[in-house]
Symmetry: C2
């Protein structure tokens, strides 16, 4: 028996060593499959009643489910900037001070973007022999200095901004689609068509193909890689390719989910087919909660409160799965409280690359969580713009501020919490609870419905821990220069790099720099 165990350990050691040394110069590859506005409740494995995601569900069956995983922000650009920088928006500058507690992002007239001072993890991977590719939505600034190839990425197929539209290229240009450092066309035009009546588009298929080709090429070259697959079909205006249109019982949003699910299956099966699955750590997640304001056009946040744009659980709890066959035991669930910012620190840890020491990183390494289901205690800070709205410590969440949206917006029909009404919570003016936070136990009360009474023993024992976490956080907080304050028509995608070669330059209008208006 002892010999058998020894043999097993030896064998396991051999296997692990071979996985590390059998290719890619002993390095582990990384893949992030980041969905856009997909909710926690949109995956079958997370309880979506129609269960239209067999590949994502299979990924969970083969990997680790992480139900307590958060984005760093309830909105796209700040969430993505934090994923790549490992730091909260308040540090990396992806916030606004135009008004307190306002969500801001990077529409194409934004003047800011990811500062050079931020070290994105692809930059560090590159120094250690990795090649990185982003496919889909960048969202960290559309001016040339902010584009992916200036921030650690070697390849790019996708767009700098959301694919809003359709535009007529007059008042605003259509969003460009880049092939690496140069534009290859524009959304809604030519190769990158989205039919805004039917929702038909082949773009997700293009993104799948680009992903597979990159993986194949890197495998061929035996060069370690990071693939950031940031497809955007579930962000309005939704789209799907012909075979998926009408496939879902949920409508166009569901069609888009089903095509992305197919894409996830294609990418994972490529890793298996090439024999590199055991050497590739893959994370699946989403950038923020489902867009509940889109009503039936948006996704589902399952049992959680409200959605995108809010710091309730529906706004920031993300459907996360980690997958690394042979390393991560299959079919398990971890209660680790995680963050998209942990991808940064986890990848560096797995790759044996030292993390920057000159700055605060908000991510933690999940390496041990993934391999042994070790649990690491860590707080989650829920920011909205420049305002620290809520804090999670252990299973407890304290709201220092609550706000859904303004009465003005709500009366216009923008409802972030449709069908949900909770006193002091889903409110339409910014409520300050910082003197006496609203406290909830998320393990029992994931819907954030039942406040723990301030005069209870439970409240009295938990609040000091919350206060300590906030104090510690604020003491070490060096705010970044806010990047999302100024807008200017002149910085729009009129004449992106490469426009001349394809005859798609548009005349740049004069500058009209103003403070951006952020209504939410």
């Amino acid at each position: 028996m002892i010999w058998f165990t020894v043999c097993l350990i030896f064998l396991q050691c051999l296997l692990e060593t071979s996985a590390y040394q059998g290719g890619f110069n002993g390095k582990t590859n990384f893949v992030v499959l980041l969905m856009d506005d997909m909710g926690w409740g949109d995956l079958g494995v997370y309880g979506e009643p129609n269960r239209e995601t067999p590949n994502m569900d299979q990924m969970a069956a083969e990997g680790l489910l992480l139900p307590d995983f958060y984005s760093a922000n309830p909105l796209c650009s700040p969430s993505r900037a934090s994923l790549l920088s490992g730091r909260l928006p308040i540090r990396n500058g992806f916030y606004t001070t135009n008004l307190p507690g306002r969500n801001a992002y990077t529409p194409q007239n934004i003047m800011g973007g990811i500062p050079d001072s931020e070290i994105l993890f692809p930059e560090l991977l590159k120094e250690h022999g990795y090649r990185s590719k982003i496919i889909g939505k960048w969202h960290l600034g559309q001016q040339p200095q902010y584009l992916p190839h200036n921030h650690g990425f070697d390849e790019f197929f996708g767009a700098p901004n959301c694919h809003f539209g359709p535009y007529n290229n007059k008042k605003t240009p259509n969003i460009p689609v880049y092939k690496d450092a140069k534009m290859a066309g524009r959304y809604y035009e030519g190769d990158f068509k989205i039919d805004h009546v039917t929702g038909e588009s082949n773009l997700t298929q293009r993104f799948i193909k680009e992903g597979i080709q990159f993986i194949e090429a890197q495998t061929q070259k035996n060069e370690p890689f990071f693939l950031y697959w940031a497809a955007d079909a579930t962000h309005g205006p939704m789209y799907a390719s012909k075979p998926f249109l009408g496939k879902s019982a949920r409508g166009l949003y569901g069609d888009a989910v089903m095509e992305l699910d197919y894409g996830v299956g294609q990418i994972l099966s490529t890793l298996k087919r090439l024999g590199i699955a055991g050497n590739t750590l893959v994370f699946f997640s989403s950038d923020n909660g489902a867009a509940t304001y889109a009503k039936l056009g948006g996704g589902s946040n399952g049992p959680f409160l409200c959605g995108k744009e809010t710091t309730f659980e529906g706004g920031m709890r993300e459907p996360t799965i980690a997958w690394w066959p042979g390393k991560i035991p299959p079919g398990k669930v971890s209660r680790q409280v995680g963050s998209l910012m942990d991808f940064y620190t986890t990848f560096l840890d797995v790759a044996g690359i030292p993390a920057p020491k000159d700055r605060v990183l908000d991510g933690i390494s999940l390496r041990k969580t993934l391999l042994n289901n070790t649990l690491v205690d860590r707080p989650i800070f829920y920011y909205r713009g420049d305002l620290l709205m809520a804090v999670r410590v252990g299973n407890y969440k304290a709201h220092l501020w609550t706000w859904a949206n303004s009465w003005e917006e709500f009366r216009k029909g923008t409802d972030f919490c449709p069908g949900q009404r909770l006193k002091n919570m889903t409110v339409h003016h910014q409520e300050d609870h910082s003197k006496q936070p609203l406290l909830f136990n998320l393990a029992k009360d994931y819907g954030e419905k039942y406040q723990i009474k301030p005069n209870s023993e439970e409240y009295k024992s938990v609040i000091p821990k919350i206060n300590a976490a906030v104090k510690e956080h604020l003491e070490h907080l060096k705010k970044g220069e806010p990047q999302l304050n100024y807008c200017d028509r002149a910085v729009m995608n009129w004449a992106p790099p490469g426009c001349k070669e394809i005859g798609q330059c548009l005349p740049v209008p004069p500058s009209d720099k103003t403070l951006c208006y952020w209504p939410h």
Copy 2:
């Protein structure tokens, strides 16, 4: 390759034949694992974020998940009477006419019970050589003529009513626990203790043991069986045994769920251990939605609206799994719209026993759904007492009436829809929409949040189908004699059969027959 396929088919044929003929006189055994007040959202596989049900989730991985499955009523007794009779409460008499649209059940002062005229499926199974046992909650009437052994069951270990308490045996007697036709003691006393401070009780362990012993005994005798395992630990007052107390992150309710999950695992592994799993069709489900009025003390209905007592999805959508290794393909999901009443018709179909022809049965056979994932079109009727509140046809649900509860009850703090407010839906007076039903597409809108506009083409095309289903239903509706109108202290469990032998008879008070009061 062809030979290989032929061999496989031959082997499968052999296996199937052997499963049918290898024991139990060629008959299939049946097990129903019926939970009490457990919500659709309480199982990990149905999206419960804490994922504390590994055995139920494993059952789904080995079996068929049925996310569109309903109880026949949003309350316990009528739901259970319908499960066993295959007929809606309005037919089998499990309703009240004291007030329109009121939920009624079988507290121990109820005078009614399951009428002799109803044919419960264990009666039919018995005629064909089966032996049936109920473990846990009966709830079809506590007077001797209504007890399980007078309605097809050979064995009984459990109670006729809910384990409400604690009582002091003065104003009301404690609920008896029966061992077959005679009482063996009372809840909260002696062997059947529930500590109403800590929630500690060994009862679920007793129920597990009774279940396993019955399966073992039947296997030994080679006699086909039906086991109705109706454990009640998740019904208030909740309880769990010492090893499970404090185990769940969700509190006592979660502890109870985790112990029941353990029980499900024990029963399924017993079937495997005895080699009879392939010959036993098992259904897991619950009797009604989670008790949202219990606030943090109750379960979760996931993304659905409201809970127990209501005809919204949260009141009647049940977490259902079918399991029959070797027959039901593993790990699949079926969109079949099902009902607990289908157990009746499915079991008879599988056992080759003709269904009664002298009455309307509301169940359909799911045999083909289970074996081949065939979908059968069928309506669902959502009753509350004597009132047809809503109808589902295909993916569409039409509310003819809406009501949460009365203003009086709501103002007293009874909220069936905590945190949820929807115009015309979560209302506190009975709203009549029968002239223009509120229509929802449940596939897209499982939260019942977005009414389909009455002037839309969709509405105009769907409503005729709803009307046709209602017309057809009402044309063939012969209402049963209402059983839940009268209450009487004298019929309480003062002196149940067997009380003398164990010295637990209590003096029976004089009759005070009155109309029961049903507030909801």
